[in-house]
Amino acid sequence: MVDKLTPIVTAHWGEEGSWRLENYVSHGGYGAARKALTTMSSPDVISLVKDAGLRGRGGAGFPTGMKWSFIPQDNPNPKYLVVNCDESEPGTCKDMPMLMATPHTLIEGIIIACYAVNAHHAFVYVRGEVLHVIRRLRKAVAEAYEAGYLGADLFGTGYGLDVIVHAGAGAYICGEETALLDSLEGRRGQPRLRPPFPAVEGLYACPTVVNNAESIASVPAIVEHGAAWYQQMGTERSKGAMLYSVSGHVRRPGQFEAPLGITMRELIEMAGGIREGHELKFFTPGGSSTPIFTPEHLDVPLDYESVSAAGSILGTKALQCFDDTVSAVRTALRWTEFYKHESCGKCTPCREGSWWLVQTLRNIEAGKGSPGDVDKMLDVCDNVSMKSFCTLAEGFVACITSAVRHFRSEFEAGCNGTPAWELFPYEASALFAAPRELVTVTSTNEGGAA
């Protein structure tokens, strides 16, 4: 019987100086990379990761080993690994603490992944708005070079690898793998047409694997302990353990590394329950782009298949909890505003649909909606859904349609003269007691250190 929580990637996060090479090596760090490079062939590594059943942790859940096997080894161009650390999906907050605490886990995973696909150049694309994460990661890369874990001739095998840590500049869409590649090439981060797929023509039109940071960081333990070990965790088709990020109106939010299949009820309990005096109203299973769940879904096993069967997506396992003080109209609007802000503008339904829906939702929030607005909004969502260039637009379609499905009366109230803040006074949902009217106006600070 496997324990409810299984710290693997997170095992050493709390240690003093956990980000340093010496700390990482003291726990056997880089042993898996050494093992892969000195005792296994590249196809063996791919088979191992396939056998372990590791699936992409960035949202789509595509089998990682299979992705690696798509790299055409007869293609004469260089092969690249690009690690997606753009982590921007609202609610998602797992990769940043990982990179901050144990960046060497990622680097070791990169070495193994690159070896598996015969790449000699890896890029880590980190969203730009996380300065210290980038510092830690760059320092780790420098340490790895110095120690000979990166550079030429790793472990005396003749295999060489270079890693570049690349800072983004603020664009959610760059989490989409082809937009990320365009961004990494110094362009506007807009998704590319597929085919060709990145495995064939990715970065610089060369075969490229794009993996989520957590997927890559999961690899060293799999190489170290084997596929059978990894398969002990998880459900039948969703193997292993992953990071569940619980946030919002729980007493003790945070990261929980657990085998796939843990339930929200269990996670909320570990997070100390919903805050005092309130009930859970709804939660996102996998970030804002996944249709919301309500308390009726508390016992859905959080694996790919079960969440799907229950009508949502496991996504990035970003479990944002909202209690009974929260207006569903308000969150739907805020998320839609987010997607409007982040829409790259390339395709019509996403660009224009988000523009339109934000206006409708603002009216509804303010109680200024018109009768019929809810149905019209749903029809506009239908005109967007499955028709946009990439899946960004599915995000606002999901958060609007699922909120209406569960809380239609709140939207209808906004079409009948009742502002959302009257139904749900906004101050009530804040974590601190600071009603708006009590927020004091203080003078602008002038002078100071310049």
């Binding site: 324990d3 996060w13 907050c93 901050m100 605490a101 800072a167 610089y204 100071g448």
Partner: protein
């Protein structure tokens, strides 16, 4: 001949603010930009880092910076402009010495981000997207910054300021204004936005070892597991169908 009244004018074109003070970009900057370009198999990949560097030198994406990027990378200024205006971290008007961000995406907003933003706007006397007249602060309404378990979240120069309250925000801004040392809750001592941009561009400032390894929420599951004696499973004993390589 078309006898219309339009004259050639470019005043309303989307633009990088070229009318501001002169550039600080000098030979050293250009050499650093070329160095960045040299780090990639294809030099154009360095455009985002180069624009970060331009901001660190000029306090915004300056006209001279755009031209320098285009020149070094052999692309057109229109293309550089297209990139610079796509990403929210690039500022077209001078940013403040301290760049303050308040997250107001759904979760942070309901947990107090809206109130925080309101509070900070009033305190600084500016709206989001603006810079104080003394150049000390610029303020930005942020979209989700990947720290939801620390909500509500603020950022200073892209360093985390976790679990914020109006009181903490008040103190933070006062300390920054007074030049007192301020530490990110999960990061280094606050320097300045421009210095942060230089690090983002790819020039180390030696502060990686500052700050904790992780915040408390990051360790929540680990702590809980320890309390319950939970661990990852042991390797299964090699059985008849053992698959260990």
């Amino acid at each position: 001949m078309s006898d219309h009244e339009f004259m050639s004018h470019f005043d309303d074109a989307v633009r990088i603010d070229a009318d501001e003070e002169p550039t600080n970009i000098d030979e050293t900057t250009l050499a650093e930009m070329r160095e960045l370009a040299g780090r990639y198999p294809d030099s154009r990949s360095a455009l985002l880092p180069m624009l970060h560097l331009v901001q660190s030198v000029d306090g915004r994406v300056s006209d001279a910076g755009v031209r320098a990027c285009a020149e070094i990378l052999g692309i057109s200024t229109a293309q550089v402009n297209g990139v610079a205006t796509f990403y929210t971290m690039y500022k077209r008007r001078p940013g403040g010495r301290q760049h303050i961000g308040v997250c107001t995406t759904a979760l942070c907003a309901v947990l107090g981000g809206d109130i925080l933003l309101d509070h900070v706007e009033k305190k600084l006397g500016i709206s989001e997207g603006e810079t104080t007249p003394d150049g000390m602060f610029s303020l930005e309404r942020l979209e989700c910054n990947a720290a939801c378990d620390f909500a509500p979240v603020m950022m200073v120069n892209w360093e985390f300021m976790d679990n914020m309250t109006p009181d903490k925000a008040e103190q933070l801004l006062d300390d920054l204004a007074e030049g007192k040392p301020v530490r990110s809750t999960r990061g280094a001592t606050i320097t300045s936005w421009r210095e942060a941009e230089r690090v983002l561009a790819g020039f180390d400032d030696g502060r990686a070892d500052e700050g904790p390894s992780a915040g408390e929420p990051s360790l929540r599951g680990l702590t809980y597991a320890r309390e319950h004696g939970w661990t990852a499973p042991a390797e299964p004993a090699p059985g008849p169908e053992g698959q260990e390589a």
